[in-house]
């Protein structure tokens, strides 16, 4: 029988994927807090992007070269760079999507055993990946084009062609992503069991991204505080941008096409590139899928580790801590969400401190570095410790095995809390040292920030652990890895942010009020308020954790596994 594409099966497979994706919205699985939080975050990001990109467009279009104002040339440069950046983002997203759909998906193994033709399966996968890319492209291209359209009067062609760009860009990105996905997968496999290298690499990449983020944040500050940004685009910078834009293809073609410049050349360029990319992506994904299907049936790559012998005796408590450490360190998503973020926390505090401090001084004329440092330390500490909200769920069905071990329940819980406290202590300590060393706060104030930060972290860790224990939800993945954040995670994020804003906001407000009213010498209140709130939070959370814990531990039969 000839292996033809069966479109009814393609439809069924796409429906299956849609159902899988929407499963988290069904009753019982629906994470209401997370849903609101996610959409609120998306809305905020979109609003911020449109506002700031609009403002940036305004500034950039008014940049003069050789004393001349050329708004059309600036717009061309801006759109070329924007489309190129979008394409790069789509390629990165595409690599991730192809990996998820082909290499990490479990359904291929199942479907190959069913009467589903390989062409049908391939078509379903390709459409699914394309739809994902299309959604991403639509969001980003629309945001850019609308921001530009608000500032510059552009005709109907621009709006009409926006749709075309949305449809065509994913085809190009898909081709590039399909070429890069196999090397990426190979790199992932190579690093899979090399945890230290992975950790360094992931942390370095994240640090670089945060650095870029800090530059953007600085640019935002400049835009808010004056027109310093305008002076940034001097002749040398503009010459460089001109040279860069001239080789940024296909971004330049798209920009030209949108602005109705060199229509024929850019149109043919886009068409030719699209056809080549479409053919290329079909060919590569098809061959990739064949390889994946074979390898998934044959089994995964193995990694032989060096010979080890059984270790000498340790205390059960230490063994439990080590067990948790290994579990986190050897799961790349856990490692990033906890250890990498903990390492990056001081950087985040520092970047935000440098931006925030100057903004407050320029806007209000008030030096409140201490209050801001407290706020940022507590806020980023809270975001780092969100990981603790999976302290129990992370164990999966092994939690029952741990329950059956001859270990006291207090050892089980406090081993987790001690590990989290070790991680948070290091990160809080480095943050405090950085704040002290850069002169934002005095050394003794840095010590106070460290102690109060630790108390807040202790409170959050205790609370998150007990909350997760009460609402444990074990993963159904084969290795027990939690891939989707649930209600508990969202709740802890919201609570952490509320506490951070409560502490940071109250002291900032107090400082502002006292300064405006000319009341001197009330600085000690900052220490008092922060100290008391942190201490109370720590005590409350500790009580919350230990309350009837022994009984509940015995009675535990949750997690959704039994």
């Amino acid at each position: 029988m000839k292996d033809k594409i069966d479109f009814s099966v393609v439809g069924t497979l796409l429906k299956k994927q849609l159902k899988e994706r929407s499963s988290s919205y069904r009753k019982g699985n629906f994470d209401a807090v997370g849903f609101i939080l996610r959409w609120a975050l998306v809305a905020v990001f979109a609003a911020v992007f449109i506002i700031f990109f609009g403002r940036f467009t305004e500034i950039y279009l008014s940049v003069k070269t050789d004393g001349m104002l050329d708004r059309e040339a600036r717009l061309y440069e801006l759109l070329t760079i924007a489309y190129s950046l979008i394409l790069a983002a789509l390629v990165i997203g595409g690599i991730s999507q192809i990996n998820r759909q082909l290499f990490d998906a479990d359904d291929i193994k199942l479907l190959t055993g069913m009467p589903v033709g390989s062409h049908t399966l391939y078509a379903a996968k390709l459409i699914s990946i394309y739809l994902g890319q299309l959604a991403m492209s639509a969001v980003t291209v629309l945001a850019v084009n609308l921001s530009v359209a608000i500032k510059v009067s552009l005709g109907g062609w621009f709006y009409g062609m926006t749709v075309l760009v949305c449809l065509v860009l994913p085809l190009i990105s898909l081709a590039i992503a399909s070429i890069l996905s196999l090397p990426y997968h190979a790199l992932k496999q190579l690093l899979k069991n090399r945890f230290v290298i992975s950790f360094i690499l992931i942390t370095a990449i994240a640090a670089a991204l945060f650095y870029v983020y800090s530059i953007l944040l600085d640019a935002v500050k400049e835009m808010m505080l004056g027109d310093n940004l305008k002076y940034f685009f001097n002749e040398a910078v503009m010459n460089f941008l001109g040279r860069l834009v001239s080789c940024l293809y296909p971004g330049a073609w798209f920009a030209n096409f949108m602005l109705q410049k060199e229509l024929l050349v850019s149109g043919i360029g886009i068409l030719a590139l699209t056809v080549v990319c479409l053919a290329l992506s079909m060919l590569i994904i098809r061959s990739l899928m064949r390889w994946v299907m074979q390898s998934r049936i044959a089994g995964a790559w193995n990694f032989v580790r060096r010979k080890q012998s059984v270790k000498s005796a340790r205390k059960p408590f230490i063994a439990l801590i080590k067990k948790d450490f290994l579990q986190i360190f050897r799961t790349s998503s856990y490692m990033f969400s906890y250890f990498s973020i903990a390492v990056l926390m001081p950087l985040m505090v520092y970047f935000c401190m440098s931006v925030g401090s100057s903004i407050i001084i320029k806007l209000i004329g008030l030096d409140c570095d201490l209050e801001l440092a407290i706020f940022l330390t507590v806020l980023f500490g809270a975001l780092t410790n969100v990981f603790c909200s999976t302290n129990i769920s992370r164990e999966g069905e092994m939690f029952y095995s741990v329950k059956a071990y001859p270990v006291d329940y207090k050892a089980v819980f406090f081993s987790k809390i001690v590990l989290c406290m070790i991680v948070t202590s290091v990160s809080q300590l480095v943050s405090a040292i950085m704040l002290g060393a850069t002169g934002y706060v005095e050394w003794w104030a840095a010590i106070f920030i460290f102690v109060s930060g630790l108390l807040c972290s202790f409170a959050q860790i205790c609370f998150a652990t007990r909350y997760d224990f009460n609402h444990a939800k074990f993963s159904t993945e084969e290795d027990g890895e939690i891939k989707e954040s649930g209600n508990t995670v969202s709740t802890i994020i919201v609570l952490g942010m509320v506490i951070a804003f409560l502490i940071g906001g109250s002291v900032l407000l107090m400082r502002l009020l006292f300064t405006l009213r000319g009341v001197e010498g009330m600085g000690f209140l900052t220490y008092l308020v922060v100290g008391v709130i942190s201490l109370c939070a720590a005590l409350f959370s500790y009580f919350y954790l230990v309350r009837k814990l022994g009984v509940k531990y015995y009675e535990f039969s949750g997690g959704g596994q039994l």
Partner: protein, 486 residues
């Protein structure tokens, strides 16, 4: 930063000091309260177990702290050991000091049926039918006890109380050999013959297998009908202190939610040293639930489970130290390598450093993971995970080995090696309980079978006996017929 704003002057400094002192006082009071709360009854038993850490021998058993007087635990252990015989009579009425002496005296009493089973097991090869009545092959009990109780390894100076008591009992038995000539006398026999309810000990009306066979005009080795087989299987062995009770499940009731039906209702059975007991039943019969309850994984509504005399609810740590378990889903910490997992388990069960290497080598010789032991468990196949789970569960050489569907996913070689190992392990004086659907394996391996259906215990069968009497007995047919009954 603005220092002037932070400067403390005038009344602010004393206020700050006073507030700090008050805050510190509150913290101290709170911590005291926490400590007090932690000592409340709910957590008391758990806390007690931690405060009095138990220590571990190479066999993975535990010992009471040295400062505790030996008499007290001895009394307790002996009372628990004699429960099958003594409980209805004197569990509450006899003072502790008397119960210490009684079992020692009872060692002299040969219990016919107790001796009968090991004879059948050890002297008669499986493929050879017994020519003469089993009773004629009775040997002095001390020989059996000595053979069965030999530990696999040199005992550590830290010895588990129950094992210690058991050894003492065995030693006393060995010192005062029991022979066939010495008639069974004394309170134990009286208790068995007169006052102990028949169902408690599984003594049928016909009393012995020989009598049943005689009644039906059969001899050992003859083909027997299912009805007679059922009658023979219901003849249970009487256990003396020489075969101490390892596991006792009494009136176990468990349901998963308040509205749900009982997943397990009124399950009662006891397992002794040297026994392999199978839990049989259809899917959803309650086998895994029963095992999870006795492992301490799941809470249960009613009933009592004790392991080596330690109640799983009241003294969970001591009970868990005496037990090793393998779950049906073979859940392990997949981000550890095999060897790291074994080290972890050894740490949890406090296995001394000096015996670890030897123990891993010994287990490796049975399960043969090879170089894969150094790989991450996440890279293991189903069968390999099963093997590492079994190895982990044996790191402390538990008195009770609990396995849920142990043979699933194992290759034939390992399955055979595991079966041989299980027999040897039980023979060394340990007890094994496992659930399975593999009827042939169960019939081949088990001494006894606890049949379950829809959460209820249907029967407790002495399968070893019937397999000895009729090696060709079709247990599968028997089970399916039994399953069909409502």
């Amino acid at each position: 930063m603005n220092f002037e704003l932070l400067a403390l002057n005038g009344w602010q400094l004393p206020v700050l000091i006073v507030l700090s002192v008050v805050a510190a006082g509150l913290v101290a009071v709170d911590f005291l309260l926490v400590r007090l709360l932690m000592r409340k009854p709910a957590a008391k038993s758990l806390a007690k177990a931690t405060e009095e850490p138990t220590e571990e021998t190479p066999e993975g058993t535990t010992e009471q702290p040295a400062e505790e007087p030996i008499e007290e635990p001895l009394a307790e252990e002996i009372v628990s050991a004699e429960e099958p015989i003594e409980e209805p009579l004197a569990e509450e009425a006899v003072p502790a000091e008397e119960t210490i002496e009684e079992p020692l005296a009872e060692e002299n009493v040969p219990a016919e049926e107790t001796i009968e089973e090991p004879v059948a097991e050890e002297l008669v090869p499986e493929d050879e039918p017994i020519e003469e009545p089993v009773a004629e092959e009775l040997v002095p009990e001390d020989e059996l006890v000595a053979e069965e109780a030999v530990p696999e390894e040199e005992p550590n100076e830290e010895t588990y109380a129950a094992a210690d008591i058991q050894t003492r009992i065995e030693e006393s038995v060995a010192e005062e050999p029991i022979s066939e000539e010495e008639p069974a006398e004394g309170p134990v026999e009286e208790a068995v013959s007169e006052e102990v309810p028949a169902e408690l000990h599984g003594v049928s009306s016909a009393e012995t297998v020989e009598e049943i066979l005689e009644e039906h005009g059969l001899e050992v080795g003859d083909e027997i009908s299912t009805e007679i087989a059922e009658e023979i299987m219901s003849v249970h062995t009487l256990h003396t202190e020489a075969e101490a009770e390892v596991l006792r499940v009494e009136g176990l009731y468990k349901r998963y939610s308040k509205k749900a039906d009982y997943a397990v209702a009124d399950v009662n059975f006891t397992c002794y040293e040297g026994e392999i007991v199978g839990l049989l039943g259809h899917n959803g019969a309650g086998k895994s639930t029963t095992l999870k309850c006795l492992e301490g994984m799941l809470p249960f509504e009613k009933g009592k489970i004790s392991i080596c005399g330690h109640d799983i609810k009241k003294d969970p740590l001591a009970a868990k130290f005496s037990m090793g378990f393998v779950t049906d889903n073979h859940a392990t910490f997949v981000k550890m390598t095999g060897i790291q997992y074994l080290s972890f388990i050894a740490d949890i069960y406090k296995v001394p450093s000096e015996v670890r290497k030897e123990r891993v080598e010994k287990l490796e010789s049975v399960f043969q993971l090879g170089d894969a032991i150094n790989n991450l468990i996440s890279s293991y196949s189903h069968g390999m995970r099963q093997k590492i789970c079994m190895m982990g569960s044996l790191m402390h050489m538990p008195k009770l080995w609990v396995l849920d569907e142990p043979m699933t996913g194992l290759d034939p070689r390992t399955m055979h090696a595991v079966q041989v190992f299980m027999r040897e392990y039980a023979h060394a004086g340990n007890c094994i309980i496992f659930s399975s659907h593999a009827l042939i394996t169960v019939a081949k391996m088990c001494d006894r079978v606890v049949l379950m259906k829809k959460g209820q215990q249907l029967d407790d069968l002495n399968i070893k006996r019937i397999m000895t009497v009729d090696p060709n007995f079709d247990f599968e047919e028997y089970f399916l017929r039994h399953e069909g009954q409502d």
